[in-house]
Symmetry: C4
Subunit: 385 residues, 4 copies
């Protein structure tokens, strides 16, 4: 807090993932013996990657494929999967309209209400496909339909910004997060947040894990629309500090999931080094053949009837979800074989497990515009090849 942007207006410099780089230490480890296991609730996973709860990323078959590969996928209960019994033609429409028709179409499609029976059906489908059934809902949906989700394995209570101290409009019942956690028979993951204080409060309210990240995502325009957006390296480090405080106070270790703005294996590695236990990613997985988005990716704030945010990006289809998560890579830009990238990075940095990876040395380095990011920005703008 030692910078003054003006008289009496202190501000802290926050750092983004693009502004940091990792420094090899004195030892190296063979990637073959690096351990990438992590735990969430009573579940153990080998791949510290969760697919975002987005229409374009996760449907039932994708969730099953991700679980088989050691990762997780979260189905969004506020999305088209619970509004339409058959989402296939809906996805076809979303991915075939022009850029100018996209926002109005999304607003129209989301005018269709959520069907309670589809919530239960999707969870049952995930279980029958052998998936760990992860679902997400906004606080409003959680109040209305939370009781229909008790068959799931992990419940993600997720909104742009979550707080334990919400002032509702008159007549609108607020969601008491602590009470909600206690009422749910399954672990509740909560977010998103970006500060030490809120992260600690969410853990005290009973969060089984905390999602970290506001505004840094590729398909998110919160910073442009609302002025809100915290550079992700700082957000992760602050919330990781809250995790350590919480463990020191309670003996419980609540994992931190970095969510938003992560595009390459390098971004994931840097998030882990900042202190994350796992990452939630969308656009890199939307490029899988199996992704419901068919080569497109869009944000979940887009369908807002009054203030749509987020854009539809043509991300293309570059390989199978197997290739993207476990390789071998056919691309050299850091978007294939993400687990291999994590293991190679950890080995190169001398980190035997994720706990050691959270302690590797970081430098602040001049921002590097990677090819992938320039392409992505150009595609957002409808320019380029």
């Amino acid at each position: 807090m030692d910078i003054q942007i003006g008289r009496g207006k202190p501000a802290r410099r926050a750092y983004g993932i693009d502004e940091i780089a990792l420094v090899p230490g004195r030892g190296t480890v063979d990637p073959a013996i690096v351990d990438t296991q992590w735990h969430i609730g009573s579940i153990t996973r080998d791949v510290p990657i969760i697919a975002s709860a987005m229409d374009s990323v996760v449907d039932v078959p994708m969730a099953a494929a991700l679980c088989q590969l050691g990762a997780l996928g979260v189905l969004n209960l506020d999305g088209i999967q619970t509004r339409y019994a058959n989402p296939i033609p809906i996805l076809e429409r979303i991915t075939s309209v022009g850029n100018h028709e996209f926002v109005p179409l999304m607003q129209e499609l989301y005018a269709e209400p959520i069907k309670p029976e589809l919530i239960e059906q999707r969870i049952a489908e995930m279980k029958s496909h052998g998936a760990i059934a992860c679902v997400s809902a906004t606080p409003a949906t959680a109040i209305k339909f939370g009781h229909l989700t008790h068959a799931c394995d992990l419940f993600f209570l997720q909104s742009t910004v979550v707080s334990t101290n919400h002032l509702p409009a008159p007549g609108v019942p607020p969601l008491d997060l602590q009470q909600f956690c206690q009422s749910m028979p399954v672990p509740v993951i909560m977010g998103n947040c970006v500060t030490y204080e809120v992260c600690l409060e969410l853990m005290h309210a009973g969060a089984a894990a905390v999602l970290v990240g506001i505004g840094p995502g590729a398909a998110c325009t919160s910073r442009g629309v609302l002025g809100i957006g915290i550079p992700q390296a700082t957000a992760i480090a602050d919330c990781a500090a809250a995790r350590e405080t919480f463990q020191a106070e309670t003996g419980r270790y609540v994992p931190i999931i970095a969510d938003g703005g992560l595009v390459t294996g390098g971004d994931i590695c840097k998030s882990l080094a900042c202190g994350a236990d796992s990452v939630m990613i969308g656009s890199p997985l939307a490029r899988a053949q199996e992704a419901p988005g068919r080569g497109y990716h869009w944000g979940m704030a887009t369908p807002s009837a009054v203030l749509p945010r987020g854009t539809r990006i043509k991300v293309g289809t570059t390989g199978s979800i197997y290739q993207i998560l476990r390789g071998p890579a056919a691309l050299d830009d850091g978007t294939h074989n993400l687990l291999g990238a994590i293991k190679t990075s950890m080995g190169t940095l001398g980190a035997k497990n994720l706990r050691e990876m959270q302690q590797v040395e970081i430098v602040i380095a001049p921002s590097l515009l990677t090819e992938g990011k320039v392409y992505q920005k150009a595609q957002q703008l409808g320019m380029g090849k």
Copy 2:
């Protein structure tokens, strides 16, 4: 002042709106109960947005439409509205010439003198349309025609840089700001300024509000032509500090209006968080169907006979002024539903009113090229779609 750019040459680091971001605190508020009211003179408005006194943004019908929506629009008494009884064909010419003919045409059109009778006529028209009659004039015009404007509601005395200590050329009568304020039967808003000292002096001279911002605007090239231009986050914060000092000294609260360089809802939210009470914007409103600029926007220093500044930008027409101010948004880039963006941002940040919004936490964040700004830059360069 702790940086030395060279021996004995101290300089302060100033921050732009693009370099900051807002951080959610421990609480959130339902946007439906957020209060965005602000006061200027004895007038109260629900929307803290004023349309710039520019040919391309405000004419009489636009001023009326803005007032109906809870905002304000200022008619420029130095522009074409007071030089031409019928500005329609003039606007047609301005928006149909090529880029190379633009500056000479503007210089030609402004060679036509200001007509005193048109000043009185435009004010009367605004009143008869039900608008709060806001007009602006440069100091030179204010000296000559100020007495004709007494029927207006708010008078904006505005030049690139205003000071209480102006050294005139011999034989040119200077404008005594304090005396002018006292002579006017209506509140006088003064600017622009960027420093604590000048802002405080303008308040002591009787300003009913102070316009803050020199050089950061989209259609302004002051920094390129004159080397002058203060990053807006710092300018707002410094002038907001002057407002607090003035209130402590006199008990009077004089609002600060951030003027220049604000393009998206996020920019407006960040200006409020830096300490502004309201913003004055041009290019976002020039994109309204109702705007006189017909999809173009240009600066008011452009017609200068000797040193034109500012460029004409094709901003396009993207919706009605209703949509731009109050939504629903059909675009997801932060340029529609600006009031909705302010309320959502305030709610997300836990600010119940503008006074609390002025206190939210700010971080310095790596500059983010938003889609809108890339487009704008590309359009300035004649590139893009």
Copy 3:
């Protein structure tokens, strides 16, 4: 010197002209009464602008035109004007070859030796045209032909980097700067340098003015080729400090001329604010109808037989030298009416004369890519329109 780029490797942060902006103070001055006079040797000029000693910028008629307008132009004695009796067809060849043939052609053209009689002839021509006869030569040329230049008014001894402590190759006579100054019957301006120490030494050696700037110029690629290049705001401020020290020690005021990288009126204003008494500019003047470069501009290190530096840029022809220096401007990008820009900037900043302009407040501001600079870079790369 408080930054360490590595262990035991201190480095100072230096600032470029693009990184600063000027801040209006508490007063303003009518531009009509602003005084822009400066002195060099016994000569007084109203316009603090000198045209660079470059083939593409100054020939005899251009030097005369510049002097009539209150400025100065320097004829390069190492360029084509003294190698060819009739430079017209030579300039035609230089400006008509393709980009790939440019460097070899320049190397071929400069293989032609300098003709002693042309040195005397050009100086006489300048005088007969009514110009103040300013000529420049490298140290090597000064040794050989300095005695032929005694009829000139100002002699510019100029190389990329000049020092009072040069270690020559065996058998090569070094130039003793102090002795050279004493041997010349006219004032000798020396440069370029960038540091306080060297600037002070040049003044003690007898410099009538010092040129400041290494590596920042548009047509210069010293930083890319040699790694050498000092951001100009810092270089000017440091050398201005040397000027003050020298005046305190000797009572003599030796002006500082900022040379290199200045493109717009804003750049010139910022150089003056950093402490310069005057600027030397090339590319902005190469755009004059009268310029010998016919819409092209190129560096004087380009013809080097072994290590050519600098590129040929198509700058275009945008108006007369009168318009460029004294307006009225037909362009709004800061490249027309440079004197008007200086006066308006000074008035806006409250500086009544150049001495006060050297003291105005400076802020460090996020770099602004002006339209002109993007175009220029694109043109250098052969891209763009």
Copy 4:
């Protein structure tokens, strides 16, 4: 370590070559008498430049040509030269496939095993061509085939990151670097590393020179794929400090070779100023007519079967290796006559030899997009002319 990117997460600011510039001191030296000699093992070279051990840069004739010009070239024993008796048709395939087929082709070509007899044959060929026989191998290859390389002159043990403390997979024999150095009858150069500690350990393990640089290279995407990459100015300065410490402790001077990301003569000069004794460069030499890459350049991590990194860049062919190293330059962008650039830079900076060049003043300067780097980036993106 005084920056906190988040609570309890310190990070150091590291600097890249593009962020610094060199400052002329009080003296200058005629480039003709500047001494650029350096020593590696018992070998003395006039040109402090080593060609990278890459398929696209060094084959036997190229190594011989480089040695004749006073430089060195390293043949990669893990590349196509030791997998294929006749590499000509292989290079033809690599340089003729499309961008999408490139990575799979490289993976296919590298499935062919290394042939022990080709290792001995290539070393013999280098000797018979009159070259100083420099070869490189990864640790794994060194273990298997190190004993076949005893006829070479310099052995480069090189991997992305080398450490003296490697934790191998069970059953995989680790390479003891100290033991390996002692077992080799020729000097062993080791790398790459980026920190003071590891550099010092490599010297104590017996390194005859240390390669410095991880992640900054043009054909390297380590930072994107793995998050690893240290800005080169800081890495060189830190490792140069280790060299000084080692010399103070042992009396032995072990040179530092800056490897990666250096494109122009200016980059090389800046590396030397940061403390390097020599540089290893790839892409600038891949542009030679004699280069095996035929106008293309690609990284050695590309053929990885599981995690390919690095891209193939079309660098073009711009002249002979003689022109690139010793001029005369036909290009003015800093990529021709690299030795001339070093000598001119040293002379301009007043450095009589490399030891003095390591001490010249450095400033941190705003990053400058040089023409070469813009081209390179544009080419990577498939844009440009």
